[in-house]
Assembly symmetry: C2
Homo-oligomer: 511 residues x 2
């Protein structure tokens, strides 16, 4: 992810040793600086702040100065000057603006290295745990909308504060920022009513916002803020960022890019075509729906293995189990299925284990001391994985592809990273394909933002991607529910699609 | 000066009736608007303010909206949207930012008509009557410089306030503004230390400033502020604006453009070449040096005629004479010269009139009851007119031209307008050429600003003019003082240069 190319990012720092003004050469200070940059950077603009800094800075430093150029999306702009050579201190910032978490990175623009990385909760949570609550809070109410906007900005300011505490480098010292977030998040960042995102006909305020000056948005940086554009209401900049990160749009081979969170977003394609879609998908995987579900934080069961009828677990933070997170759920279901505790329909087989018993009038498995996974939890999970699987299946059908045509299957999201590939295939969350073809790129929204920050020319590429991409609104699809019902089995009603699972089941005498 | 062409100015208002969003066509609001404009206006930007105005405005007006596009010097930007058709109300503002007076005009951008025009004193006067005092006040002192900047902005705000009182149209309702001012004035407008303007090596902070958002400069307008660029420290945007107004850079014939104020600025050329220069010239004409000199306001003698030994005067405001302004001085000297009251060296001929007598130990002429024009006043005037004349003569020599090569002789400035051409020639302020070739364009700095406001493509032309123009620093010229001495006669030591004056003198028996 690191790059040695220091000349392609959204900002440049250039050390200049200029000849001071004389009667023979008394062009203006602005021209003296810009003419030294013109050949390489074209006709750069000059911010008012810098205009006011020329004197006495240039005079006192004897015209040995470092200039900061920032890209405003269309041309370079002189955003700062400093005395002497400060090119060594050249920073940028990138962020994944998630509805729950804001993850940011301080990037050394000279080397491309990440100097610091941290996450904070999105302060929007004060106005609702889930996005819809926030949207209704701000709906048709400019004052409340402004509260949400401010909360969004405050989340960044908290991150910058932590950064300064940890590294001594402040937001003021950063040049440019690239943000990737979904359509609702970018709407809130700009102070826009986001009800349109979830309301027919899904025409939002903006999908391809301009670059705005950081200061105008309330950020301390010297340059501009670029937000990844989105394709549609449910297919936002975070997904575009992931596509840039994985480079599926550059490849010969066809890839599937799947991001399962509260919603599921899906892109299929290669260098010749890109089809995208999105739909409600994964609440069960976020830990909010499953009864003992929780985030992947200390106390969460994140790994499960069943051996000799015993449930072996791993708990984050090596502490007492308090609940189960997404990767734990997938592991648990895969293991229970492979041990015959649940059948293909996800129903508990009560006699298969003493861990399975009736609790509060419903069957449940005790996966950790005092913690139970209920029949209803399984059903919720199956709906989620069926929705994701059906999106993939439906879209593959639309473009006339079989799973064997797929070169790579990307599962994005901080969360995808932690799910075991094998367990994911077993429960039918992932297709049954060579495991090295299943790629978990982690938080590709964040790393894609960093890639953009370091390569401003990608902005043009993203715009080409958007032009090329066809978006399918799943809500408008007829046989979607029908397909989904078929996918609500483990791993699928059509077991032939899962040969390695079939083989394993046969090996275990379950088929 | 009016134009019917409504499509070339720095702003556009366009009424759009757009089809509201539907499931079949649910592009973003921004795209819905921009795609309707794309063919004609390219890829327009969108201000944050407008982004926030899309909803509910577009919805409530059923997508019948008027958009305001402003030119930022490089591309169009969506600066406002309004419900319904408001294209009829489309305003711009232009101004001549003088060191004494700020003159502004409200322009109807649809018709090019001037709807309102007024002047106010430049509030900078609080920090010094003359420019140098202000410059020293702010020199190396950011806080005091900020006071001067604020005073400059306040002058505009006063003008906008008067405009709103007079017309009901506020600064907030105006789109773009074009300002023409000298280099010191633009420096003060941007909050820049202007000591550089008067101090060797005369390398100023900026001569070609960017277009800045009106709001960033402290103005209420919705769009951008363009300041005419300058050629050099002493040859600022006010002169460039005059050149644009007179169009001497477009003509086959060679013109001389002269602006005499506290300084004298001179441009000679045509469509093939432009030579420019500037120097200290005209304090005597501004009424500050002559003992009874005053501004052209009520009480000032502005016309003088001598008939049968009697001095006939006209007083501005038809009131009692309190002093004499520039046009009065030129008239007075011409008449005294043609009546033999003063000789070619400007010395009083005491016996020529009973009006000439010794007052306070020096010879003086009583041009109005109790008001005297002293020998020293004549000398001051001759220095001024010699400086201006010498600039012209020197520069003509530099480019190898005779006065007979000159097609038009422009004398700019509110002030030039009032000087009688005949008197100006008689005293040698203007060359002796056919009177219809002497053109007095008035405040061409202001009218040139208006022309720019209505024709944004002139920005490119001005940049070409600057590239083409050669600037001569008169301070560096050797034989300047020598030439100047020769010009300190009435009309000139070489009377053959003034054939019509020679003829008149002969007719009157004075030669």
């Amino acid at each position: 992810m690191e790059t040695e190319n220091r000349t392609e990012g959204w900002s440049r720092k250039i050390y200049l040793e200029l000849t001071p003004p004389s009667l023979e050469d008394n062009v203006s200070d602005q021209e003296r600086i810009l003419r030294a940059l013109r050949e390489e950077y074209g006709e750069a603009g000059c911010s008012l702040r810098v205009l006011q800094k020329f004197y006495p800075l240039c005079f006192q430093s004897e015209w040995k100065i470092t200039v900061l150029l920032v890209w405003n999306g269309k041309c370079w702009e002189l955003a700062d000057i400093e005395p002497g050579d400060t090119t060594g201190e050249h920073y940028g910032f990138c962020a994944d603006l998630g509805s729950t978490t804001l993850a940011g990175e301080l990037v050394d623009m000279n080397t491309g290295k990440v100097l610091w990385q941290k996450s904070v909760f999105n302060h929007q949570i004060d106005y609702g745990q889930d996005i819809l609550t926030r949207i209704f809070y701000g709906k048709d109410n400019p004052l409340k909308l402004e509260e949400i906007r401010k909360a969004t900005v405050d989340s960044f300011l908290e991150l910058f504060k932590k950064m300064e505490q940890d590294t001594g480098i402040s937001g003021e010292q950063c040049a440019s920022m690239v943000i990737a977030g979904n359509t609702t998040m970018t709407h809130f960042l700009y102070g826009l009513d986001a009800f349109c995102v979830f309301s027919s006909p899904y025409a939002v305020r903006t999908l391809k916002p301009d670059c705005y000056r950081a200061k105008d948005l309330g950020f301390p940086l010297k340059g501009y803020v670029y937000c990844y554009p989105g394709q549609a209401n449910y297919l936002g900049g975070d997904i575009l960022s992931g596509i840039v990160e994985t480079e599926i749009y550059k490849q010969e081979e066809i890839s599937v890019f799947l991001d399962i969170g509260t919603n599921g977003e899906l892109v299929i394609g290669n260098k010749d075509f890109l089809v995208a879609g999105a739909g409600a998908a994964g609440p069960a995987l976020e830990g909010g729906v499953v009864k003992t579900g929780m985030r992947a934080e200390p106390g969460a069961v994140d790994r499960v293995h069943i051996e000799n009828g015993q449930v072996e677990i791993h708990v984050i933070g090596e502490t007492t189990a308090e609940g189960i997170c997404g990767s734990g759920i997938v592991d648990l279901l895969a293991e229970m299925f492979l041990n015959g505790w649940i059948d293909v329909r996800g129903r508990y087989v009560e006699e298969a284990s003493e861990k399975i018993r009736e609790v509060d009038g419903a069957l449940a498995a005790e996966y950790a001391p005092g913690l139970f996974f209920f029949q209803k939890d399984i059903e919720e999970f199956l709906k989620t994985k069926a929705a994701a699987g059906t999106m993939v299946e439906y879209m593959m059908g639309e473009v006339g592809l079989e799973m064997t045509d797929i070169g790579r299957f990307y599962v994005a999201g901080a969360f995808g990273t932690h799910i075991s590939k094998e367990a994911g295939v077993t429960v039918g969350l992932y297709p049954d394909m060579p495991r090295d073809k299943i790629v978990l790129p982690g938080n590709s929204s964040l790393t894609g933002a960093r890639k953009m920050l370091l390569h401003k020319e990608i902005k043009e590429e993203v715009e080409k991607i958007l032009d090329k991409m066809t978006y399918i609104q799943f809500g408008a699809v007829d046989n979607f529910l029908h397909l989904m019902a078929a996918a609500e089995a483990i791993p699928h009603t059509d077991i032939r699609r899962y040969p390695t699972v079939e083989k394993e089941l046969k090996k275990r005498g379950l088929l």
